[in-house]
């Protein structure tokens, strides 16, 4: 459980974010199709990204996501709201992705996640420090870091989406669940069956890779 050591920011918000949640859930129960369409659209990229942490291809991930939504519709009436709606959706997704992975004979235990993660990757920025641990090649300033800024022919945000897609599967799943979907560390660890220490390392590596990708763009 994170402590308020720095006192700068509140501890991680509870899972659910915009789906907190009775409102989204209520609207679905009331047959609000627009709400349903909004939900499936907004969560799509994240669900594909997490599913691909387990299954072999984008096409299979699409199938898993479709199956997940059908299962969500099946279970909506009986959903007891003991967890957030988003948590529940992702729990179904991960279950289905694991089942599919087993059928494809892809083992999906955490030890495989570690190897999928590129386990030897340094946590610190590689090759940037001198022997004493101080910056040898310090970071250069970034100008105009806005999502809409055009670099190399497309928006910076598009580059970031591509950088997330290019992450090793375990890192991608963690950064999606933690940063994009704002799920709590506890929920992430519970759903993926990983330790807090592993979650931290995967998240750090994912963010560090994306920072380096942005840095490479900023140097153009």
């Amino acid at each position: 459980m994170p402590e308020m050591g720095n006192g700068r920011r509140p501890t991680h918000p509870p899972s659910g974010g915009f789906l907190t949640e009775s409102s989204a859930y209520q609207r679905l129960r009331e047959g609000d199709e627009r709400e349903f369409r909004r939900l499936v659209g907004e969560l799509h990229r994240s669900m594909i990204g997490v599913a691909r942490g387990f299954v072999g291809s984008h096409a299979t991930a699409e199938e898993v996501v479709q199956e997940t939504w059908l299962a969500v519709l099946e279970g909506l009436e009986n959903f007891e709201q003991r967890s957030s709606l988003k948590n529940w959706i992702f729990a179904i997704l991960i279950n289905k992705a694991r089942t599919r992975a087993r059928r494809e004979s892809r083992v999906s235990t955490f030890s495989d996640w570690e190897s999928l993660d590129g386990g030897d990757e340094p946590v610190a920025e590689p090759g940037r420090f001198d022997a004493k641990g101080y910056w040898a090649t310090p970071p250069v300033p970034w100008d105009e870091v806005t999502p809409e800024r055009i670099i190399a022919g497309q928006q910076l945000l598009t580059h970031v989406v591509q950088a997330i897609d290019a992450l090793p599967p375990a890192q991608r799943s963690i950064v999606i669940m933690h940063d994009v979907e704002e799920m709590s560390p506890e929920d992430i660890c519970g759903l993926l069956g990983i330790s807090e220490a592993n979650r931290r390392v995967l998240l750090h590596r994912a963010r560090a890779r994306i920072r380096r990708a942005v840095e490479a763009l900023m140097r153009r």
Binding site: F36, L70, P147, L157, A208
Partner: protein, 80 residues
């Protein structure tokens, strides 16, 4: 005093408020005197902000239509 390499290793825990009091203090002390690490932390923060904004509607319409049909079958509107 922490070294710069160690600061980068702890950058995300620092941003997520996931360091204990003493570690947090050590990081803050280093940041007051090291502009390179300050820049690194700011860039990591900017990166996380971009990641957070990266969500977008990416489901093909055909797939959405199929699911919407299933939704209509299962969840009839309660108010006409």
């Amino acid at each position: 005093m922490l070294k710069c390499r160690e600061i980068t290793e702890m950058a995300n825990q620092y941003l997520d408020d996931d360091l204990d009091l003493w570690r947090g203090l050590q990081v803050r002390m280093h940041l007051t005197v090291c502009k390179h690490c300050r820049r690194f932390i700011e860039q990591m923060r900017a990166t996380v902000d971009l990641i957070r904004r990266s969500r977008s509607d990416a489901m093909p319409d055909e797939s959405k239509d199929k699911l919407a049909e299933a939704f209509r079958r299962r969840c009839k509107p309660t108010n006409s």
